[in-house]
Symmetry: C2
Subunit: 133 residues, 2 copies
C-alpha cells in the first residue's frame, strides 16, 4: 500500500492524502516523474470515493507539487523538493511553524528538545530509496 489514511481522524481524507504524498516526496520515496496511482485506483484501494482522491490531487496540483496530464496521469513535478523556495511561501510557512512550536513550548517541551526533534526529522528526509520509475 503506497498510502494509508485514518477514516476516524479529524483531518479530512483529502488532506491526509496530500500530507502523505508530500511526506513521501520529502522522504525520497517519490522522486521527479514518479507516477501516482489513478484516482479511481487509489480510491478503490482506500475504499473511498474517487472524488475525494480527485480533490487531493487537485490540491497537490494547485500547490505545484504534481503535474496532471490526461496522458501520463499524476506525476511528481520536476522542481518539487529541489528548486528554490516559492516567493512568499517561507513567510507563510513560518507563521504555521510558530503556532506549532508555541504549542510544544506550552506543553512543556523544552526549546532544546524541540529543536533537536526538528533536526531529527529534517535529517530523516531523503534517506529512503525512491521507487524506481
Amino acid at each position: 500500500m503506497l498510502l494509508t489514511i485514518d477514516l476516524d481522524s479529524e483531518v479530512p481524507i483529502y488532506q491526509q492524502i496530500r500530507d502523505r504524498v508530500v511526506e513521501a516526496i520529502a522522504d525520497g520515496e517519490l522522486v521527479e516523474g514518479s507516477a501516482l496511482p489513478s484516482t479511481r485506483q487509489l480510491a478503490a484501494d482506500l475504499a473511498i470515493n474517487f472524488h475525494t482522491v480527485n480533490k487531493a490531487y487537485d490540491l497537490l496540483r494547485q500547490q505545484g507539487v504534481i503535474r496532471i496530464n490526461r496522458k501520463s496521469g499524476a506525476v511528481v513535478r520536476r522542481d518539487a523538493g529541489s528548486g528554490p523556495a516559492e516567493a512568499g511561501f517561507a513567510d507563510e510557512w513560518q507563521v504555521r511553524l510558530r503556532t506549532l512550536l508555541a504549542e510544544a513550548a506550552v506543553h512543556g517541551l523544552g526549546a532544546d528538545e524541540a529543536l533537536q526533534r526538528c533536526g531529527e526529522v529534517l535529517g530523516s528526509f531523503g534517506t529512503k530509496k525512491g521507487t524506481p520509475a
Copy 2:
C-alpha cells in the same frame, strides 16, 4: 486589543483564538495566573458570538492550558509552559512537525534554512514582557 483574528481565514475562529492564546503564553505575554477576558467581553471585542469564544476556552481547558472557575474566570494554569511534557504529547506533536517540515522541503526550503527558522522562532519565545497581573 489582546487578540486579533481573521474572519476570512479558513482556520476556524475558535482555533485561531486558541492559537493566539498559546502563542501569547509561549511569548511570555501571558504568564501563570494571567486572566483572560470574559467570554462575552472578548466576543464583543471581536464582534463574534460568545459561544465561539466559549468553545475556544473549553478547548484550552481540555488541553490543560487554562483553568476556568466561576469565581476567577479563565486564567493561565500554573504548569503551562514550565512543567514537564505531558506523556505522549511529544510523539503526537512530532507527527505534525514532520508534516509541516516535509511541506517546507517540497517547496524548496532547504533543511539548513528550515532548521534556522526553527531556532529563530524558539529563540523569540519568552522574550516579551508579561502583562503585570
